[in-house]
Symmetry: none
Subunit: 200 residues, 4 copies
DNA sequence: GATGAATGAGATTTCATTCAT
DNA sequence: TATGAATGAAATCTCATTCAT
């Protein structure tokens, strides 16, 4: 088994990142001790500093990874303009499903990026902006009601995603697909029964 | 100025609680130093231990206060059965407004109880259960669509409350009343324009 | 019930001394907290300093009381010269019994004076000197063997008293009278059976 | 100078144990500060916690070492049955001398184990039981008088050992050999002169 | 004679981080 | 690439003692 030079170091680095993500996600930044991380990675404390400048540094790197992963994802799922109305819902569901899938594939990073990072609020703001942009476009295109404040809706949507992620997705109680469908259903049609809508 | 016995001590205790809540909310549990709390309360470190057994103890007391405040509130706003359909939305708005009002009146405690406490998830679960109970009752009474999974909706509702609290309510960007109205509007009627609903 | 002025203060002082003696005896100097003493005496911390200058002060006073009690006792039981041989043992037993009685009457002080006080060693040295003096006199008078080093015997005697006090006297397993008799018996006649002594 | 791996750490640990034993013996548990121990061992405070979990832990380890040393010793000096009477005293002296030698070789540990440890009383009880067992065997074999309560004698013997250790052995005023001989002499033959015994 | 409230001083312990190898 | 050993800095908490009433 031939391995290039520097292979062992990269392995160690990766093990440290994984161990750190798990610990941070489980316990939070302060509760997580370097000594625990290195133990789980099968290394010693000084080795840690071979790869990361500080505890903050590794934490930041995890957050950075989360952000760029999320960035790539969102870049890839912009709703194209001129979608046909009958496909809109389907596209929305698809997009949401991709987001949920990404989150569930990186549960530790998700917990860190969405709830533990000092930048968590910033990250969510970025997401909200993105959602808002899309929602506004659809609204202007007449797909959505014109009489709702989209800023509020965007926040609501993120809140729903966030909450469902924590309570249903990460614990494995629901699949990304089902969650996406249900979320879109509620958000699009609302809770009132059809007749009562007809009445109005 | 006549003051009853024990007055000064109670004052000090209250000042400590307030200072602590502010610091915890701002910085989190670990970043908050007892030394900062007492300084802000105009006392010295040993005095802190006159009133609280430990840093954990004061943190827990704040959380407890939040929970019981919230408990009292929710107990007082149960939807009465047999409401007339045309009043339901109005009652929902009213209930939500009371919740938002409570949260905005106790911003520090809110941040602690909803996001910083180890029990935060439990607290939210309790809230969700309560919401779920109510929602199910309305659903069975025919006020809501029968084909949505209420467990999911309850989570969504909480997620919306949570998010709007952080981004609009606590920063003072929106009043409880407006938030409640918008939230109910979106949740009840959904995002689709009226015609498109009619179409279906 | 008429009580002279200052009565209440003296009562408080006594209660403090008693509580302190008990705590010191039970837990040692450092483990004993002023807060515990005053609680047991039904007072508050500042009141303590009305009667004693410091924790050391009350400790010292207890030790002082023990020493003077012991001093009075020993002064009163000096063996008179010219005792008749057949009465010697009986007098020894009597003297020892008085010592044991004193100790068992003041169990807390005894524990403090003999084991906890920094001066404990000094107190015991004083006792040893006293014993030694007496023993030497008896030895010179021919009551005791001439070929034993009395300094050693004095230490042995004190060691026996000390140990029997802790293990049998204070726990109430033996009476002063019985202990005194047994101790004298062993010390005077030794352990060997009579014949074997005769043989020599 | 070739030294095996882990050598330095073991050295530090030993230095800490020695420094601690000395300080504890000299000043007692509470008066002994970790800062003093580490200073004497040429280390800093955190290093202490590299080797011992707490101040209690190092204290307990010293006590443990004392107990096991003493245990090994006592296991090795049980009097064999069927000893000839004329050799008994000699064997007793020998056994005692070994005990005294052990104690004087570990003066700090001795002070801690016999006087400072919370378990000191337990340790002495164990020793007393051992003595008692031996004494009873000899008594039943007819080597000792049948009319003395051996439980009392065992306590006396331990008291003598204890006291002589503190006053003569540890300060270096007497050798183990001489102390053992004197102690056995007094304990076996008692204080009365030979004639007076004959008289009886 | 007594107390509610407060504090100065200091001890143990923790943890991220570095040195020397 | 890795580690055994060590440390700087700081935080929590305790307790005897005092102030003001």
């Amino acid at each position: 088994m031939v391995r290039e030079k520097g292979w062992k170091g990269k392995e160690s680095r990766k093990r440290l990142l994984e161990a750190a993500a798990e610990e941070f996600a489980l316990r939070g930044f302060h509760e997580t001790k370097i000594s625990t991380i290195v133990k789980q990675a099968g290394l010693t404390q000084p080795s840690f500093y071979l790869y990361f400048a500080s505890k903050e540094a590794i934490f930041d790197e995890i957050i950075h990874d989360f952000r760029s992963g999320l960035g790539e994802l969102t870049a890839s799922i912009r709703l194209e303009p001129g979608i046909e109305p009958e496909h809109l819902l389907q596209r929305l569901v698809q997009a949401l499903e991709m987001v949920f899938s990404f989150l569930v594939r990186n549960p530790h990073m998700t917990r860190i990026g969405l709830f533990l990072a000092p930048q968590a609020e910033q990250i969510k703001e970025d997401l909200t902006s993105l959602l808002l942009e899309n929602l506004r476009a659809e609204q202007e295109a007449g797909y959505f009601r014109a009489d709702v404040e989209m800023a509020t809706v965007a926040e609501c949507l993120l809140g729903m995603i966030e909450r469902l992620t924590v309570t249903h997705l990460l614990p494995g109680k629901q699949t990304p697909a089902r969650l996406a469908k249900q979320l879109v259903d509620v958000l699009m049609y609302g809770m009132l029964p059809r007749e009562s809508k007809a009445k109005e």
